[in-house]
Symmetry: C2
Subunit: 283 residues, 2 copies
């Protein structure tokens, strides 16, 4: 295909994909307002599949009542251009009514420490909404592979667990975080930041770099590494830390020392904007 096909209905998407029976399909689920991070997922999917579907859907059931569902940035025309230039074939951009014709009452959820830590604590119901919509997308698209960014580390860990436990016939591909030239992790929400906030938000990556440095110099005590991160983030007077955690990267369980692969993850508010970032620490 040369031109990106934009599909808004589930039936139309299924009919289209049926034409490609036998070809491999890669799915990149997104909430739109795409940036280079998303583009890198689409490019990866392009390398590995015959057909690349990018879904653009701001999923209401993963937002809490006081979150930014209404103001979440949207620009479908720009998204289509980015998908096109990254090698995607189909943009699936359903309406809320198409995805939820009835009030959602069937959910995929998890009862696990993995869902209660980090963003699970501050955003109750968030991962239930994510798992439910991703299940719907898997069932609609029937993809062979699905691409998720490591930026949302807890999300991709949970999706991998869901795929494993519910036997979804799809391979999850984790893709690395993309960063702006000053290190800020790319995010659709960065557009919310004022000039000052945007400038100060660089403390997140600075804290990651400093922790990585200390870790490589032999500091493996979690409390100490967290202190270092908090000190670095504290250099911004407007940064409000929601959490900084270092956890077992597979189970998201608490650890006291980094002996195996660990995830350092943080959520920090700058004004009204909540940013997340993370890195892996491996011995």
């Amino acid at each position: 295909m040369e031109k990106v096909l934009v599909v808004k209905s589930i039936d139309e998407l299924r009919a289209k994909l049926k034409e490609y029976n036998g070809k491999t399909v890669g799915l990149v689920p997104t909430m739109g307002y795409l940036h280079k991070g998303h583009a890198s997922l689409v490019e990866k999917a392009r390398e590995e599949n015959d057909i690349v579907v990018v879904s653009v859907f701001v999923n209401p059931i993963q937002f809490g009542p006081n979150e930014d569902l209404e103001t979440y940035p949207r620009d479908l025309d720009r998204d289509i251009e980015i998908v096109s230039s990254s090698g995607g074939d189909i943009v699936f951009a359903p309406s809320v009514e198409e995805m939820y014709p009835e009030k959602a009452e069937v959910f995929v959820d998890l009862e696990s420490e993995i869902g209660e830590k980090l963003c699970g604590e501050s955003r109750p119901g968030h991962f239930r909404g994510v798992m439910t919509v991703v299940s719907k997308l898997f069932n609609i698209v029937g993809a062979d592979r699905a691409y998720f960014g490591q930026k949302d580390a807890q999300q991709v860990t949970i999706i991998e667990k869901m795929v494993r436990e519910l036997n979804f016939p799809v391979k999850i591909v984790r893709c690395p975080i993309l960063r702006e030239s000053d290190g800020l992790a790319m995010s659709s929400r960065n557009v919310y930041l004022s000039a000052q906030e945007r400038s100060e938000a660089t403390v997140l990556y600075k804290s990651i770099l400093r922790v990585q440095r200390e870790f490589e110099s032999g500091e493996h005590r979690v409390e100490k590494l967290k202190e270092i991160a908090l000190e670095e983030i504290g250099k911004s007077p407007i940064a409000e830390v929601e959490y900084v955690e270092i956890l077992d990267s597979r189970t998201l369980g608490n650890i006291e020392r980094v002996n195996g692969p660990a995830l350092m993850a943080m959520a920090v508010r700058f004004g009204k904007t909540r940013l997340i970032d993370n890195c892996l620490l491996e011995v």
Copy 2:
């Protein structure tokens, strides 16, 4: 295929089904100890699909702590014969370890009146277990059609809702209740009944017949129809009624009069054995 293929591993089943790419697949999910009711599902699937898979799996997560998981009757050799004589191609009989290699922590669940009524009230967690295992089976088999008995009316209503909301690419086929010559609905659990219990359990179908007769004679008041059913069931001194309900058959919501399609459903204990039965009442 002439002989039934018995498969115990998910990977082997998937590999086998991949060989039949392009053929239609019908799935009959069962807990085994098959009877003519199951056989009728397999025969229906045989008529409508190229390949018929019958799963035989006593799903632990749909049993409550005080229920009959341990004693639930099992006889795989007999099941294979029944599948064979009903025209099935593959028996998928995984172990508990194959289906749940880790402790189950990801569940499909519903938050709806539909799940809280009838068996949902007396068997908390039951439908969550059913929805979760059926999701797994759908994902493993990738069936075009799946066959469920109307005997478990609430179950099939919930599965239909799940398929609709989560967009599973499968068509649910409801099949009628099969009955013994004296009217008792066929069930794997009938084997639990003593001779006396077996004889008295016929009050269930007698109550259904009497309610249907009164309904056809113009009695549409739900309270009155329930009274008639309870009176008929009460003719067995050992029958212990768990519920007798008449509800909107689509939403399972309460009604006072039968104006649209309604479901009369009952759960009654005879000794230690809990039996369910139901019928549709339509104007």
